[in-house]
């Protein structure tokens, strides 16, 4: 094997040493939190004043993640079916098609997106009324 010395190629990588003195780029979670962009596709919210219980969201969901659950109180008088959507976060892929097809735009996605639970039933998520 022919021996050759690449002096420039051996010295230039040492520029990396200069970066030792730079500020760290990482954040110290959970004490420090990353700002989530406006419009991030996080958890669902559903304005019960507007929801008409049409089940368009359930129909368009490709993962069958949405069930229409009967509701008695605090419902929109125009909600003829008497049901509102409940989302299974074990199946949801946050594609946001459900919010696209919502006729009164009651179903939306908020920026909040961190969820931890030791009970799998807690992943059947009832959207907050917002």
């Amino acid at each position: 094997m022919k021996f050759s010395l690449d002096i420039k190629g051996s010295i230039t990588p040492f520029v990396a040493v200069g970066r030792v003195f730079e500020e760290p780029k990482t954040i110290c979670y959970p004490f420090e939190k990353k700002e989530i962009a406006k419009g991030y596709r996080g958890f669902h919210t559903n304005s019960l004043d507007k929801c008409i219980g049409c089940a368009n969201c359930q129909d368009v969901c490709m993962n069958d993640a949405i069930d229409m659950i009967p509701i008695k109180e605090d419902r929109n008088p125009k909600n003829s079916s008497g049901c509102i959507p409940r989302i299974d976060y074990g199946r949801c892929c946050w594609c946001s098609l459900c919010t696209d097809v919502c006729p009164p735009s009651s179903l939306k996605l908020e920026e909040d997106c961190i969820w931890a639970s030791d009970d799998s039933n807690n992943f059947l998520y009832m959207p907050k009324d917002k």
């Binding site: 990588p13 406006k38 991030y40 596709r41 946001s96």
Partner: protein
Amino acid sequence: MENRVIKIYHGPQHPGITGNMSLELDLLGETIKGARTHVGYLHRGFEKLVERRTIIQAFTIVCRICVPEPDPNEENFARAIETLAGIEISDRAKYIRTMVLEMARVASLLLWIGGQSGSIGLGTVGQWSLFDRDLILDLFEELTGGRVYHMYIYPGGVRRELPDGFLDKLFELLDYLEDRLPLYDKVFFENATFKKRAIGVGVVNRDEALKNGYVGQVLRGCGIKRDTRRDNPYLVYEDLDFEIPTFNGCDVYARAMVRRGEIRESIKILRQIIEKMPKDGKIMQKIPKHRRFKIPKDDTFVSTESARGEYSYYIAGDGSEKIRRMQVKGASLIHGFTLLEKLLIDEELSNVAMIMNSLGICPPEIER
């Protein structure tokens, strides 16, 4: 003691690849005498899943076919449906789509730098490039609402308008990335360690490259100027001025240098897009509602240049709201089987991860 050929499994988890794919290697000492690719760890049956869903529902699946660079899938799917349904999208939507595709290309190439440098032990470079990629993902988060799976390019246009000041932020990011490129040159592309390891390793036969259907950097690393953006232009690539970087070594280093050139060209393209993007125009054409969106009994074949090479979709409709057949042809299948098995013969075991990475193989895309 007599030399014996021993058989080992390299993978499915190893530094040479994004995803899971194993290689069955026949070793004589440290030298590879035979290689067979084994896939099957990531098969999710997307082509079949698409047939059971309506067009609108299928749109959310296709981006998952390739994890490191989902956007060419979205573009292929959307363009195929638009071709079949006869939908013409606005110029503004075309520019936004091109911008998303080029941002995705830069992000994917930065991820590749991380993989390639990691495969030869230069871990620091990978940390830097993944941080830079994250800055692009931050912009994607703002634009599309998702960091990796954007689900943004939609049949009929794009789903959201650009946020306020987005193009300014992109412009600043391009300045930053351009300043970073000389640093990557110093620590990685001109690094004596990388050159020593990569030059003359994994040499592709130039004559076979075209005949066997290799694409992307493998072809351009052999000095062959092939790029779908030039050969079969789509969106607004015809109006943009860019070069197709080529290199003549046919080895791992040549493919790395081609990618280095592509980052520079993508930054150049993005600057032109910022300058030329129409201020007004509909981002989304009116399309039928979910159950009423039907495509005629016809078929089409569309191609997009992904960060790994030509990426194509065949889509056939049967007059209903569902797709009759969807076939994905990515760059990884031919590179992962036909090429890789041949390239590894008589190479050292320590070079396997580096050679795999240089071919840009993506197992999720092979298996779909």
